[in-house]
């Protein structure tokens, strides 16, 4: 018996903001805090909380530095983060493939 794809979802990654952070970090290779905040439409505090969860789980690495006098925080995806993102996308596709035939059948 195969388990339902929903059982394979990681609670840390299966959350829209954290999935968004991982997606952007994957595509950008390296992304700055303010870009994430503006693109995802979050407050700085809210974004910091989500980054903390992802960093604790080892899915992202956070690097703090300066550009001139301006403090900047850069986020990069770890190998574990890359694998978690790929797994989440695969699980989502699997879920959709299961949902779509059920949605088209008469109720």
């Amino acid at each position: 018996m195969t388990s339902h794809p929903a059982n394979g979802l990681d609670d840390i990654v299966h959350q829209r903001v954290r999935l968004g952070i991982l997606t952007i970090a994957h595509e950008a290779r390296r992304v700055e805090f303010s870009y994430l905040r503006d693109t995802l439409g979050l407050t700085a505090g809210n974004l910091s909380q989500h980054l903390g969860v992802l960093e604790t789980a080892g899915l992202i690495a956070i690097e703090k530095g300066y550009a001139g006098k301006r403090a900047r925080t850069w986020v990069t995806l770890t190998k574990a983060g890359q694998a978690a993102l790929e797994d989440e996308i695969a699980q989502l596709k699997l879920l959709i493939s299961r949902i779509e035939p059920a949605g088209t059948s008469p109720s």
């Binding site: 999935l19 968004g20 952007i24 595509e27 950008a28 503006d38 693109t39 995802l40 550009a67 949902i99």
Partner: protein, 227 residues
């Protein structure tokens, strides 16, 4: 600019379409396709005066009825690799500076590395052909001279940039440019070294790069984000 509204809800379909939208948005932020095209157009046009610099006779080989010799302008042979390496360094610096300003990493490294390797490899192959005058006549009068040209090397590197930027429009421009370079190899004089480019070939290739650069500049409108 925010895509927070587009990226909402826990429905798998919305989550997946949200990730696609974010991916598209990041790629749009990363792209600065107009800059390398305009720089390379400038490098191509700037090569034209060097074409009129004094020529030097290379190697001669005796064939049945006579002799086949190579002739080349040494200044152009120095100009191309120097200008291309400098251009790729400028392009890399531009992308890195832009990346810092916008807060998004850049994918320019494969392009810059490929561009520099191709420029140096092209120089090596051209120097080799100077000592082997029959190479082009034996291998074909059209295809090989086109493939062994700096203009073609620029086009190949642009294909790498299109892959790095996941940029379909740039891939179309790069392939179109390569086709133009292949066709334009027969334009102009039949004497001298084709790989270095004749003025009419350089004007043709440079014009394609210039038009492509202007097109991407208008499409990407970098001044709008900076405002």
């Amino acid at each position: 600019m925010t895509s927070g509204a587009a990226f909402s809800g826990d429905d798998p379909r919305r989550l997946l379409s949200g990730t696609r939208e974010l991916t598209r948005q990041v790629r749009k932020t990363q792209r600065a396709t107009w800059f390398p095209l305009l720089v390379l157009a400038l490098v191509t046009f700037a090569a034209i005066p060097f074409r009129y610099s004094p020529h030097r006779l290379g190697t001669c080989i005796a064939t049945g009825p006579g002799r086949v010799c190579t002739a080349y302008p040494p200044a152009l042979l120095v100009y191309w690799p120097t200008a291309l390496v400098l251009a790729y360094v400028v392009i890399a610096a531009f992308y890195l500076r832009r990346s810092q300003a916008r807060g998004v990493g850049t994918r320019v490294r494969p392009y810059v590395v490929a561009g520099i390797i191709l420029a140096l490899a092209m120089t090596g192959s051209l120097v080799w052909t100077l000592y082997h005058p029959l190479a082009f006549t034996l291998a074909g009068r059209v295809l090989l001279p086109a493939l062994a040209s700096y203009s073609f090397a620029i086009g190949l590197a642009l294909v790498v940039l299109a892959w790095a930027e996941r940029n379909g429009a740039l891939l179309a421009v790069a392939l179109g440019y390569l086709a133009v370079v292949l066709v334009a190899v027969n334009f102009g004089s039949v004497s001298g070294h084709r790989g270095l480019g004749f003025p009419v070939q350089l004007v043709t290739a440079g014009s394609v790069l210039l038009l492509g650069g202007i097109g991407f500049l208008l499409a990407q409108r970098p001044w709008r984000r900076a405002a």
